[in-house]
Assembly symmetry: C2
Amino acid sequence: MDVAIVGVGQTPFGDHPGLGVKELFVRALAGLEGDVDRGWDRDLLDAAYVGSLSCGQGLQLGNFAPALLDAAGLPGVPALHVENACASGGFAVQQAVLAVASGQYRCVLAAGVEKMRDVSADRGRYWLGVSGDTEYERLAGLTFAGVFGLLATALCADGVIRREDLARVAVKNHANAVDNPDAHLRRALTLEQVLSAPQVASPLGAFDCCPTSDGAACALVVDADLAARLSDRPVWVAGIGAAGDRLALHARPDLGRLAAAGRAADAAYRSARVAPDDLDVAEVHDCFTVAELVAYAELGLCPLPEAGARLGAGEFDLGGRVPVNPSGGLKAKGHPIGATGVGQVVELVHQLRGDVRSERRQVPGAATALAYNMGGSGASAAVTVLSRERAA
Amino acid sequence: MDVAIVGVGQTPFGDHPGLGVKELFVRALAGLEGDVDRGWDRDLLDAAYVGSLSCGQGLQLGNFAPALLDAAGLPGVPALHVENACASGGFAVQQAVLAVASGQYRCVLAAGVEKMRDVSADRGRYWLGVSGDTEYERLAGLTFAGVFGLLATALCADGVIRREDLARVAVKNHANAVDNPDAHLRRALTLEQVLSAPQVASPLGAFDCCPTSDGAACALVVDADLAARLSDRPVWVAGIGAAGDRLALHARPDLGRLAAAGRAADAAYRSARVAPDDLDVAEVHDCFTVAELVAYAELGLCPLPEAGARLGAGEFDLGGRVPVNPSGGLKAKGHPIGATGVGQVVELVHQLRGDVRSERRQVPGAATALAYNMGGSGASAAVTVLSRERAA
């Protein structure tokens, strides 16, 4: 696509009781400015996309993106708020890519921000619950943990996955997060701890669920000329894919799938002209542990019935065949809704540049990477393939 | 840009007590399907953008766009909700244009929908008020009528415009709406009636303010190959431009301007390689009458101090030099927030195809048209130039 990323920034994901959405955005942007090799001339910025679900819990529901750019001292830039629930960030990245690929814009900011941690439990549930089906699920009392509990129950009942497989996702991702200074939950967990945690929505326990995090992340997306001018080590967007699905679980033909992810991945692989076997590293949407196991299958990394065994054999660990969620994933790095998908790209840009600030977390020689971000209970998905090399 | 529009549809704007956002969207889409010359194969649809501010007053705040596509029987299509307050629709159109221009997608739906009419006055004010500055304006009690009242007060005090000039905008736009079956307020007003209406925010009276409307609108944006395949009379996107501005009025250097509109128009004219004199017809954002007068200046149609006199001389009437808001504008066609900017494009596509269903409203031989959509109190603006002819 001849579109590159030349700088990334993010706040630590987690508790930020003293920072609102504007402050989080400004801090992530400051990180990005320090990350562009030859400095970033702010006058270059043509447009911005900001992913967010709750917009600071309704503080600024309208003109949310212009409000953030204003706070950052960039008020003239056309800025647009985009929302696809938990996939808002992944879609923000893709809009920036499309805008540059169109030739209309040369330098576009993709950002995401969310302020989740200091809302009351009731409001937090409200903002999350509004992303799935309304009539048949939310108003009937089904939470997101309940949605993914149903998915896990169906797959366990069919013998496709086991309770221990779910727990191993949490163990792996928590282990990865320990050395990530931007991660929300930086502590290792044992299989025992995950399995004995209080149950949230059978079979999912507390440690099968991602935390509720504050955070912001951003990436600077540019054309090939600007990439050469601004950076010694641009990361190239090899391809993108996105898809939708029915919202209500009962309306989908197979409860054990997240079909939008599969369709988005197929489109991204076609767009990038790569196959799953080409991937060196991936950040995938693990809002609940079961979602990561299903993601292996939807992304073509392995058939779903083999997911548990392959995870157990270390294929997706750091040092394995294709490390998944080296950042810790939503599960341990955290899940500030709108920022999550952009944060995946932040992690992968560092992986492809080889400058992860932790030898243990760096995937050696990573050349091709995939980010998969999902919205709600799977009604939207965005998959982006990044590469160290510019397409021929 | 080699991007065309081959079909449009909209619901009537106004009172729809029995229809929610999903039903409104489905009806607008049905109108579009009947408007594509050689029929629309739904399998062609690659992506969709949906502009909305309130998402059905929070019924479906997350995954709003996938929920609408699901309701329309198009659940697999990647769909994204975009929001820039009252400019959400104008930005949705531009994202569809960028997506097609990128080469990644060939057939993209741009849509907008809003359900405003049956909210309580309190909630309606809430959803609108959240689009301007929060700290210095909304929390201090400033409404949008107040914002535009301040703008009008400043311009009247400087002698740049007169109270009668404001009223003439309402008279013109109400006259235009009489023959528009999709308009919310289809009745003519006299200058006397406008001037003697109850005051809302000095100097603006009730008839200086647009109504609160329900509605949906959509447009099918395609590449040149599909344009030739699907349509005998595609309308071409000549160019687009967008801009932002500071949210708080006190932070802007000139209270009498809507500078984002000016910047967006400049960018659109450059992109389209046309000048204001080339325009045959325009739909402009007249949420309050004063906004249309300022728009004449920001769009380069005339200097602001001449706006009133030129309006009075009939330059912007049907049959005048460049008819503005032949649909009736927000003022009389109505303002279903997210749908408004897409509805402007619906009107202009009919104008350029010469198939407006009212001889009086049809601008004869219109070849070049401009749509200008503004967000909130002017912190975002999108300007799109359409043409009957494909760019050389």
